[in-house]
Subunit: 275 residues, 3 copies
């Protein structure tokens, strides 16, 4: 019986070595029927939080799958590997929080297993490449004919390591948070949600006052960066439902000096009603 | 009925975020039978002309497909999305010229439709990610069972936005043009064709005088860069049929300071016939 | 009859142009049943040795396949293209040593053919893109229904170009070699094997004295980089069975100034036995 037609694969392995290919090869040998969708392999080395954010924002658009994610600075130490059922999918990786936001996005973890069944691993396991030797072979077996319960000892889902949820506070006319991610275009994605913005009274066509560091900037709040002139700053609800700051045709993160983790708040600017 | 076995996918989304994967996931859900061939996702952000050139030079080697291309600085504004039949394929993307050179390479557009049928889109459409929410789902539906005519209102193919053809002028013994692309190796691809070179009398084994900026350089015209010594400059007809300038084992664009758009002309150097 | 379900693909083509996609398209047209596993396309331009190392370390984890590899600074000159049977696979590429280490890893070349049968090529062959015009179409035909013997004239496997094996010398308590590769994480992989280390008396939990340039460094020898504190140096047997030097959570190649080719030796440090 085939359980999953798809695997997804998220790592910090980069693309210049053969690491991703070795894992794909292992997957193909065990589960030749399965297609592997690469989420990204360019998570900055060891950046668990960045990996968690990318995975969580992508998973809602993927088909039911065994999602393998490996950003694993503790590989070979006593951190455990896990396989967790959440929604219609299974998540496999190190138990270091990497999977936690994505499992929440998928509907929440329902059962969890520590990867202790060596019969689902490669016969030789190296201490530094569990993606190839443990995570991918387990995933491929689960996609093919192994039951999730065969992955190893069941553990309490409440014992899984979770990253703290992205911080945000809404009070009166101000929403405060931080930079969650910066994408390829330099768009600055905040932890503040579009719903937070609505709650403090921001509406499309209006404006917000953004505070960060010692700076204050008035930004138009629009549907899309294309709604302002080239080179101008704009705030908008992005494709993940989060408030973001962009420069139309430019790079907002560079312009404003806003890396992931920087604290930003937005305050609604009251509109003068002309009636 | 399955209409297309392949999709191709060209964007400026980069590989460090989950954007490409989200689109692939959407495609897999709607058209699980279809394979997606990535053309490139490293078009410089918003560089429609570069995207158009890469796509046009690649499409002739791809199987019949629904070609999805998204380099879309105007996303969310009133630029329209289109689906266009050309040759044995369908091209889908923003109507900003990105698709135009590839459609010419495929034999020319025959019918065009504005993407107005929301039943082929995701149920929720964000203003900044039409690749995921509109272009890919429409493409996947067209690859599966939807008729092209279901994409939306038919429009006149003559009304499609086209990029001006790469500029080049041939006169007497000189062909003038500009740098169309610079590839990973630093090879400088001109808009001047191998046929142009032949027309002004250049032949393999001969030489050309290249003019750019205030410089003049005599270049051997050979079959391949490997025909000159390591570190030497050479002109040749490249794998897309365009005159290119390379350094054997080096980077010609860096050496000569020739970015895309720089004006270059070549003049044939008469040969002294020894008989 | 289908001979191979998989192709693998290793090049220095990069990902910003359409070169890889054009090859994939050619492969899909000829062998639509075959899946293509990308090993890497980010081999530094023309770096045959790096391509050979990545391929050799990846192939043992790939399913039986036609392995296409193209790092080919001599394209279009008189270097020949070859198809070689080794283990359960076939290797195709330029006869410049690129394939040699991988074929050894696969069990050694058994039969070799010069690619002289133009019926397996594209009908038009350009002098600078044999990946698209020769290597991939030949590979796809061999994966589908062509016999290996149809690739061209048989040649002596002893006449294939081979790269010299990575240099290493073991004497008494010292193993000497060089840096074979540096991976994305900055881990420095030596040509010295884990077996060499064992032979000179190094054991996990002990220490080695590393010599390079005018420097000497004492390094703990552990199972994995995670066994030392963040920011500390460590030596270990890596996932390819080679001695490597890492910084836990950091970049050893940058810290130590050790690029590929740098000479490094390790000497065992005697342990004081407490009993």
């Amino acid at each position: 019986m085939t359980r999953f037609r798809y695997l997804s694969f998220t790592t910090d392995y980069g693309l210049e070595d053969g690491f991703v290919a070795a894992c794909r090869g292992v997957g193909a040998r065990i589960a030749p029927h399965a297609a592997i969708i690469d989420v990204t392999h360019l998570v900055p080395p060891g950046d668990v939080r960045r990996g968690a954010a990318v995975l969580a924002q992508t998973v809602p658009y993927l088909p039911p799958a065994v999602h393998v994610a490996v950003v694993d600075p503790g590989v070979g130490t006593d951190r455990r590997g896990v396989a967790v059922a959440a929604g219609n999918s299974v998540f496999i990786g190190p138990d270091n929080g990497l999977l936690s936001w994505a499992m929440t996005a998928a509907g929440g973890a329902t059962r969890a297993f520590s990867l202790t069944n060596r019969r689902l691993w490669l016969s030789q396991v190296t201490p530094t490449f569990h993606g190839r030797d443990i995570f991918m072979p387990v995933a491929a077996h689960l996609a093919t004919d192994a039951e999730l319960t065969a992955a190893g000892e069941e553990i309490d889902v409440g014992d899984l390591v979770t990253l703290p949820a992205p911080e945000r506070v809404v009070r009166d006319v101000t929403a405060s948070g931080e930079v969650l991610t910066v994408d390829r275009f330099g768009n600055v994605q905040l932890t503040i949600t579009a719903a937070d913005a609505a709650q403090i009274g921001v509406r499309r066509g209006g404006s917000v006052l953004a505070h960060f560091g010692h700076r204050q900037l008035m930004l138009p709040y629009r549907e899309t960066f294309g709604a302002v002139a080239t080179g101008e700053l704009v705030a908008y609800a992005d494709s993940a439902g989060l408030v973001s700051i962009a420069v139309n045709g430019g790079n907002a993160a560079q312009r404003l000096g806003l890396p992931p983790g920087a604290r930003v708040s937005i305050t609604v600017i009251p509109e003068i009603i002309n009636s």
